[in-house]
Symmetry: none
Subunit: 434 residues, 2 copies
Amino acid sequence: MEPMQSKQAAILSIGDELILGQSCDTNSAWLSYELLKHSIITAEHRTVADDRSAISLSIRSLAEQYDLLLITGGLGPTQDDMTREALGDVLNPGELLVEDLQARDDLVQWFSDRGLEIPESNFRQILRPSDMRMLHNPNGTAPGLSGVHSSCQIFALPGPPREMQPMFLNLVVPEIPKVDEAFSVRMAEVHEYGMGEAEAAQRLGEITDRNRNDRVGTTASEAIITARIRAHGSKEHAQQSCTEIADTVDRLWHPYSFGREGVTLASAVGTLLRDLQLTLVTAESCTGGWLSKTIVDVPGSSDYFLGGWITYANSMKQDNLHISEELLKQHGAVSEPVVRAMAEGALGSSQADLSVAVTGIAGPGGGTATKPVGTVFIAVGQRNSRGELSSFVRRFKFLAERSVVRDRAVKSALQMLRFTILNVTEDIPLLWQV
Amino acid sequence: MEPMQSKQAAILSIGDELILGQSCDTNSAWLSYELLKHSIITAEHRTVADDRSAISLSIRSLAEQYDLLLITGGLGPTQDDMTREALGDVLNPGELLVEDLQARDDLVQWFSDRGLEIPESNFRQILRPSDMRMLHNPNGTAPGLSGVHSSCQIFALPGPPREMQPMFLNLVVPEIPKVDEAFSVRMAEVHEYGMGEAEAAQRLGEITDRNRNDRVGTTASEAIITARIRAHGSKEHAQQSCTEIADTVDRLWHPYSFGREGVTLASAVGTLLRDLQLTLVTAESCTGGWLSKTIVDVPGSSDYFLGGWITYANSMKQDNLHISEELLKQHGAVSEPVVRAMAEGALGSSQADLSVAVTGIAGPGGGTATKPVGTVFIAVGQRNSRGELSSFVRRFKFLAERSVVRDRAVKSALQMLRFTILNVTEDIPLLWQV
């Protein structure tokens, strides 16, 4: 297709569970953001129930208004999945759906790879309107669909994000029309942890001014603050502006800024550990494995992560990290001496160079007057070149519910570890540190 | 207003940040779910940009189709907040907005309470179409609006959830028409893990028939299959139908069904462990703490969870779970003998009654011809009343990316543990078991 100046897209999400509020539609936001990377502006999101006539009415009305229509959901094997039939009502009214031979082969292969019988209902998934093409789904049994109605390009994608996202990136992106390069949009992100959103915004100053051509906004998600940068203009200009602004944000947010789009606290720490050939162990109480899980989320983490101890009960702390009953009795399991003993005990029971230990009161029960729910101690332990162990501790008070206390403890532990590796530990406070 | 039989609602969300995917619309799901509690079914969600004509077009078209329209967003003080003007274009076309005297007093009070000057732009927030009423906002400076167009009740609410939600509960709920108790709606959910969605649906048979009065649909989220039940009729009848259908689904899905709404695999296992006064430890390799994290997600898990070992490197398996170098060399770390040794080693190093161990190849690297990426061994270990240790193992092949392999391993481990406690381990296969 020839390039065009501006292109307007609509996104239609289908599902009773979405319309009834039993789950939240995250696909539309994800798709809109991806479309922007290709300089396509989304004008409307719409969600309807698993209702054949509601779906076909919406498809017809959106296809008449916009140039591109992305549909998610309703491609499953069950009776309430109606997107195929509704698309047929619009593109090939009055006709029966046809079986797609390639999709049949793919379906047979999918189940035989897994040593399973094909349930009868899955055969619904190889049907399509005769004027549509199927999009292969390597991550599930629902193929996507592609076709044109009323000059609008239509793509129907499966609802589960881990099936929808790769299908969009691999099969839809190459087919969406290119926008004229003079009207490019480029985006970048910079993430930070440890400063509040207000302070982060204040540090950015005038670059967040809404009247500028290049937009910079901040959003907060689970205490990770992200600067979202959007630059317009020719491809080169937009790209250059984006990079320059991201570099500036990175500098203004130092040392809290830990990476660009796609980088997590754990992957940033992992890159540092690998580069410096350092190894790490963990000792967790209230986070109960969450810290280690987050470290192992990063592919290749076996290069630097040896493992850890989840010492949820005191008996586990005594038997495995050799923390004395006296210390536990004297100070309590949630205390500076105990977290320090956990961090150094983990180093003592392994060959690692670094350790992180967390102990705290995540709630809802267990709080006291001096150590209320949300009190968390985090220690980073180090082994020096002579084999001597040392550690330092920070105390936090996360005023929130159980899952939030634990999430913030994991993030603070990773940022403390990052500061340690970068030698910026001494005087930089972290949010909620007390 | 007099009660009515059935009532259909639409929700319109307004905002550039939503349509561009920079933030996700959670208000629509929240409002739909709240409306259902009052037996009102939402038929459509729509999102448009901060664009006066797009907003007024949507308001007109939704008001013509539905009985109730809830609008969120676009009521702020800045130039891009256009909801007031768009409502005027629909309800009082050609007229100027009028100033609301009560809203002016409220605005003056808001700023004087905080010792602040009123920014000029905030005076936009006290304007309304002459045929609408204002809804007081004690949590912000944006009043809501209420009016009627084309027999549709319209409420416009501020976008921030902590302003929108109390305004909805306190000022909108008392005004929405009561649905006749003879036309009540009640909901329930049943969750299962270990059967595919198609088999789960097949087992439900005719109760998922869409022509029935009571609706049962299935949805899959990260391999947890949920039956969503919606019963209609008189209040008592609807509640009774819901309970009866949920009981039936639970029975048809036995032993894979693990709980109703709000129950997770980990909380179901936790309830069993607590009731039977059993204690648990974990030994994790590829899941890297995720299994333990999931167990600790449940408040009160310290009643039965002692802790665990994350033995990511082989040195950790040898030093902490006393697995011999020979065993590791002979069979490899990902093998039945090693996972068995992990499960029994964890029991040997603790006082727990039960253990779960996981070892596998999560990828992307590390796969071999006989043990491809996705190969996972899971063992459940038990200590009997004479103190003797035993264990059994299942082997899985999760053909998916790293995070999915690990997620399914965690869920399979919890379901295996649940089967063990319930004595249904022997002959019930789990999805992806090989």
